[in-house]
């Protein structure tokens, strides 16, 4: 620790800290534009000039390291005059268009100009005008307002990992622009809007729609991937106007993905379902809740009476809330059916009885960023879980060896130490090769059965390098991604990865689908486990997400599911639903396919309109409140399920709040073991695999995101594709 004095206040600062960090720590505010705690120091705006004893000139606090006994004055004549001087320079060429600028009211330049700017200008020359750039559907530019702090440029280089923006030209002619006129493709690009201290980069979808002082800010949790990024929802007139990050150093730091930021557009989509509806003689009618619920009740009762409860299948979105999942499974199990699943993209369920309590990252998100070797298996981490991709990238920049075994050569934004791209069938052999290399290298006894399994596996130089990198690592991580989970031999891949992690001392982790796969497992939204036995299996398991369509049921509950997207085989799924006698759709949207197959629509509130909980991939429970009231006649789904439970005369559906639901589940679960450890069982190599994996498009993972127009026209939104190797 180093002792310094700022404005007479004696403080202890970290060794190697810059003055501005030391001052921030104790709440002494030094004005700044270019400095940002998550970016490298540029020291170019000069706004943070302070007066340091024994220094002839004022020094930039952002780039001046603390030294023992240093005395700093942030309010002296010298400091203030330097800061005021810089402010005058910043303002001479800055347009006076605050009244029509989206940044107005939350603009660093505007705020600091109040304290450091003059009442009138001495500048009577012409002001600079800079042509705007079209950089895509998410970020609007007003380049005349740019103050050249280069935060956006540094963000691209250091965080996003794609150098898309740069400063072209010099002096007053310097402009921020794309290197070759093009759109921004980073999945984290929206953070540049937050970083921009002025109105040069603003949100295109949000543009001209509200002033920041007209909105109320409510904390929430992003519902689009397994990270559970902390967000703030800005609300005006009962509308979500925009989404911004809420800082949480343990999860998303100061960032959020573009998906979390811009998917709110889908909340007000035209096909939003706003009232209960029933289909009679092929015609949809808007009805009251009583009518709709009675219709659903009768339909289900009749069906169960006719065919038995085992003819009921229930599919729930992995992005539903914990409370919704828990009540839904309680309802269908109460009716006598265990055919419930959320694993809409999975093909191989063979080892589900041996699965850990939930698909766990194997460590905390922060810890993942400290890995020194990472093996990605069937994972497009950059696009599927951008915040985790960012953590792995940071690790890579600090020297971690990041490696991947994929069936698609995904574009990544980080240096890869090794890369193994194979066809879908080759994934097993690739992992087996690494495992064999690992065994050869370390001369360790193989777990039972492995020697025989690996007998005919050949090793390549890449296998050996990957094995060596993992062996040498003191903090290795092996991660199974979404395409591994959709692999026809997922259980084998999992077991091989498990073995690789075990033998190299690495941490094994899963990257799961949607916002709440972890919650789905814990709450019993799987056919073989209930909430009271989260890690032990039911004696008679129900049908999984595939089985309930290959052996079609007579009736279905669809919860937040769009069959044409949330299925590995949309044709079979849709046909089974069409052929069914009765389909109840809990949905926020009425898509064409859903209208076609369902008999009753129960309009449920998306996560912004209901309270609930998401459990993220670390096993972290994050509860949130509804921040706007449900649109028209939609209702929070936990309330609908509560009423349904009572209508079916099932016991234990008298909840007063979603918190009660959550707490009941929590009590049921007791202590949840955060671990991926399980008893060893040697897998079998499946050999011939002819299936292809349907990649989930980055902006196609859930119903809300699919309707976010601005995201749908970004370079990343390419729709469903089958990639063949």
């Amino acid at each position: 620790m180093i002792n310094i004095e700022i404005d007479g206040l004696k403080i202890e600062a970290q060794d190697g800290a810059m003055l501005i960090e030391a001052a921030d720590e104790v709440g002494i505010s030094i004005p700044r534009f270019c400095y940002h705690k998550k970016l490298s120091v540029a020291a170019n705006c000069r706004m943070c000039l302070v007066d340091v004893e024994k220094a002839a000139k004022p020094l930039p606090a952002c780039a001046t390291p603390v030294t023992e006994g240093m005395k700093v004055f942030t309010q002296s004549q010298k400091a203030i005059s330097a800061q005021k001087g810089v402010m005058e320079f910043l303002l001479i060429n800055h347009p006076l268009d605050c009244p029509i600028c989206d940044q107005g009211g939350e603009c660093d330049l505007q705020d600091l100009a109040v304290g450091y700017g003059g009442g009138e200008t001495r500048y009577s020359e012409n002001k600079r005008v800079v042509k705007n750039k079209n950089i895509g559907s998410l970020i609007a530019t007003d380049m005349t307002r740019c103050i050249h702090c280069t935060r956006c440029v540094r963000f691209g280089e250091e965080i996003a990992g794609v150098r898309e923006l740069g400063a072209i030209g010099r002096g007053e002619h310097m402009e921020i622009g794309t290197y070759v006129a093009s759109t921004i493709s980073s999945e984290l690009s929206g953070n540049m809007i937050d970083l921009c201290p002025v109105g040069a980069l603003t949100s295109k979808p949000f543009r001209y729609s509200a002033r920041n002082w007209e909105m109320q800010r409510h904390p929430s949790i992003a519902g689009h991937d397994c990270v559970g990024s902390n967000i703030d929802l800005d609300v005006r007139d009962n509308n979500i106007m925009r989404v911004v990050p809420r800082e949480n150093e343990e999860i998303n730091e100061t960032w959020i993905s573009d998906r979390d930021r811009f998917s709110y557009e889908g909340l007000n989509s035209k096909d939003r379902l706003t009232a209960p509806m029933i289909k009679q003689s092929g015609e949809w009618q808007r009805v009251s809740w009583d009518t709709a619920l009675a219709f659903a009740l009768n339909g289900v009762k009749e069906l169960v009476g006719r065919h038995g409860a085992e003819h009921l299948g229930t599919l729930v979105s992995p992005s539903a809330t914990l409370e919704e999942m828990y009540l839904l499974q309680k309802l269908v199990r109460g009716l006598g059916s265990s055919n419930i699943d959320h694993r809409v993209r999975q093909l191989d369920f063979s080892d589900q009885n041996r699965a850990p309590a939930f698909p766990y990252l194997g460590q905390s998100i922060e810890s993942l960023g400290q890995s020194d070797a990472v093996l990605l298996v069937g994972a497009n981490i950059t696009k599927d879980q951008p915040i985790l991709g960012h953590r792995v990238r940071q690790a890579a920049l600090f020297g971690a060896k990041v490696m991947c075994v994929n069936s698609v050569d995904y574009k990544v934004n980080m240096p890869l130490a090794e890369k193994l791209i194979t066809d879908v069938a080759g994934m097993e052999a690739a992992l087996a090769g690494i495992l064999k290399a690992l065994l050869n290298m370390n001369k360790i006894a193989a777990p039972s059965g492995i020697d025989q399994l690996l007998h005919s596996v050949s090793i390549s130089a890449t296998h050996e390098k990957m094995a060596a990198n993992l062996s040498k690592a003191s903090h290795g991580s092996v991660l199974l991604g979404l395409s591994a989970a959709s692999h026809p031999a997922y259980s084998t891949l999992y077991a091989l990865a498990e073995c690789i992690a075990e033998l190299s001392g690495a941490k094994l982790g899963s990257l799961s689908l949607g916002a709440n796969s972890a919650g789905a497992w814990l709450s019993g939204a799987v056919p073989h486990r209930t909430a009271d036995s989260a890690s032990s299996n039911q004696t008679s398991a129900g049908l999984n997400a595939i089985q309930m369509f290959t052996a079609p049921r007579k009736g279905y509950f669809l919860f937040g599911i769009e069959p044409e997207f949330d299925s590995v085989d949309p044709v079979v799924t849709t046909q089974s639903l069409k052929d069914a006698e009765f389909v109840v759709a809990f949905s926020s949207y009425a898509s064409t396919v859903l209208s076609d197959v369902a008999n009753v629509f129960l309009p449920i509130s998306p996560y912004t309109e209901t309270s609930g909980t998401f459990v993220n991939v670390e096993g972290r429970w994050q509860s949130f409140k509804g921040v706007v009231s449900p649109q028209e006649d939609t209702r929070p789904a936990w309330k609908i399920l509560r009423v349904l439970g009572n209508l079916f005369e099932l016991k234990g559906f008298d909840y007063m709040s979603s918190i009660e639901v959550r707490d009941e589940l929590k009590k049921c679960l007791g202590d949840i073991k955060l671990s991926n450890k399980r008893a060893w069982l040697c897998p079998e190599l499946s050999g011939n695999i002819s299936e292809q994996i349907v990649e989930i498009p980055i902006y196609g993972a859930d119903a809300i995101t699919r309707r976010a127009v601005s995201l749908s026209i970004t370079p990343d939104a390419t729709g469903h594709t089958i990639v063949m190797n």
């Binding site: 020291a43 000069r46 780039a63 810089v86 001495r122 020359e125 030209g169 010099r170 002096g171």
Partner: protein, 423 residues
Amino acid sequence: MANEICFRTLNHKEPWALSTYQSLGGYEQWKRILKKKTPPQEIINELKESALRGRGGAGFPTGLKWSFMPRNVEGQKYIVCNSDEGEPGTFKDRDILRYNPHALIEGMAIAGYTIGANVGYNYIRGEFREPYTRFENALKEARAAGLLGKNILGSGVDFELHSQLGAGAYICGEETALLESLEGKKGQPRFKPPFPASYGLYGKPTTINNTETLASVPMILEKGGKWFHELGKPNNGGTKLFSVSGHVQKPGNYEVGMGTPFSELLKLAGGVREGRRLKAVIPGGSSTPILPADVMMDVTMDYDALSKAGSMLGAGSVIVMDDSTCMVKALARIAHFYFEESCGQCTPCREGTGWLSRVIHRIEHGEGKSTDLDMLVDVSKRIEGRTICALGDAAAMPVVSFIKHFRDEFQYHIDHKRCMVSA
């Protein structure tokens, strides 16, 4: 006594040829060092005794600079020569490259040996096509003669030297912007510390010296630091190349002892034009403060005397102005230069240089306001000392000094909307 160090070969046939340089004792120091494996500290001591100071403008003692290089650190180090001579009024390094390139090569080789760098780069101003070719040819000659390369003359010492042509940015003469440019990046100064001696080219310890500084090294080692020192005056050792331009009869480069009176230098350059009187002089290149004739006629040309007189020796770029000069127009031209050459990184320089330039341009064209002069000085003071590199200072100093010494002329332009000189 003139033109005997950097311009030693000047009066010989083909002064740039290896044979000419060698016939005058060239490369003997390099060979001696290679043979005797002279301890680096000995060379540094000799330089310290010579009182050689950086000839690029800052005047930092060269021996001291070389001693900053981490001695016991293994790994790649670099010696870089700054031949990006871009300051208006400066053209001395150009003529070293043209007429005595081997002195620079030998100087760089010795510097590399002393600081432990086996690779050197000479970064040459983009517009210097002819000097670049001349230097490249000299490199070829030196390599062919086995004076550069691997295991030079069987000594076991390696030294590779490359030249790199700039792309026309003044800012790349700032040493850290030069390093960025050498690395293939946009030429923008780096924030210091860390200084190049610890974090230089490609992040490796690097020493950067001016062309004239390095070209002086072989002769210092040949004749001794004391000898060199005595060519000048205490603390201002040796000779200096003065680039005399402007309203003189014989503009050109003159290599004379430090501390030569300005009046003598003016005489060497043939004096001011017929029938004209000396009005003012910028003694060290366009960024240094201008001094009126009476001050200049009493001053000697060295770091200390010029500093005392209120200006700087800079790179020794003497811009002479006679009584036909409009000071407003002269300043407008200078201000426009710094406006165009600011790299754009720091707010005060990026925004301030344009402001200064526009206001001065306005005054020159009869649109000045009574408040402009005080404002110009105030704005200059707000730039000075508040930027990453010295370009901000370079833009501010001429404005302040021109208005200080010739305020009446500026006031006349504002009041009468025309020039006092031509009136």
